[in-house]
Symmetry: C2
Amino acid sequence: MPNPTAAMLVIGDEILSGRTRDANMHYLAGELARHGIDLCEVRIVSDRHEKIVAALNDLRADYNHVFTSGGIGPTHDDITADAVAAAFGVALDIRADAREILAQHYARTGLELNAARLRMARIPDGASLIANPVSSAPGFTLGNVHVMAGVPAVFQAMVAELLPKLEGGAALFGQSLTIPRGEGEIAESLKALALAFPTLAIGCYPFQRDGAYGATVVVRGAEKAQVDTALVQLAALFPEATEASGA
Amino acid sequence: MPNPTAAMLVIGDEILSGRTRDANMHYLAGELARHGIDLCEVRIVSDRHEKIVAALNDLRADYNHVFTSGGIGPTHDDITADAVAAAFGVALDIRADAREILAQHYARTGLELNAARLRMARIPDGASLIANPVSSAPGFTLGNVHVMAGVPAVFQAMVAELLPKLEGGAALFGQSLTIPRGEGEIAESLKALALAFPTLAIGCYPFQRDGAYGATVVVRGAEKAQVDTALVQLAALFPEATEASGA
């Protein structure tokens, strides 16, 4: 059975403006790979209602899961919950259980649960909450869409809460070799290898180091034995190759 | 006149698998902001022909410019040129000027211009070349789509070649303040500020540092005087705020 598929939707002007470098995408990609869910597409859109709604509706139709990051805080530019409710055509209201989580959090910290903070208890009808062990304000799952915070520490904590509840598939085995030759010299061999192992994903990532060309070849697949066999064949063709770290 | 709009399409399994952290998106976002082109959306898709074609056709219809990164090397997984040709419905052949650039490069370096390397001279009909001062193999522009390499050094060199030829708009002025309060306490003030300055983009990015909550507020707009006025009003509301680096 093929692995479940997923897309990620990052909501955030700050990444598109070049101000911030995204951290959540790289984190989620690694976690999904380990859990056997194939991340197939990522979109980053700005804080505009209609863009978020359109992307949500595209992605939730195309993939088994959609993970979103950003836009669920208390400020005027936090509009993700509204967009999710609109995409699903459901109402969005302050919900008692979410409000109670916030009330307890602010009672503990001695801060006021004001109108802005209460915005974080607005949950689309039919959603289930995703716990936030870092700062309490919950994320939520509606249908196949999982809505999480943009602050990396909170995003990561929510992913840790959520992932064990989702059915994963086979984690891909990956191995890689670094070959001290230009891509153009190994391309024919790689093409032959890809044809010989049609179920493996064989990627080639060129680099230049100290003025010399080289390429890292990454072989990934569901069956470890097959990945190993392909790697052995490749290493035999290029005896000068070395094991690369971090397949 | 509003600034030209842009999208970026990153082609690369290696980012979706979590193996590599994207560097080109953050670089392009910064360069476009300085050039007065608004980056509105980014998509990352895997090395699958139909996914690349669909994303290209979506994005080139929606934005003034589409910048792509990745998939134009000599190996079997380099399929971007084919996808661009398919998206535009034009032929893709080895072109004399691109071939000549490669021939001179490999003559200089003493390497063979073999069949794999010749793939990099395949240019869709009607495209113009983007020079590659790093490793010669050119990118290309077809219509409003600018196709560039994925290797960061080459991508950056191609962006430097390309951007001066594209009409830019007003670079946005950005200023930011760091306020040592939780987002929930400043949210009402920010909302009022956003209503008072409807042409400014006001973003709020919370953080936790040494156990204390804080938020960086970023104000961006085309007119410096207006950005400054909004910042002064905000600073008056929160006298404990400090200037943040890197708006």
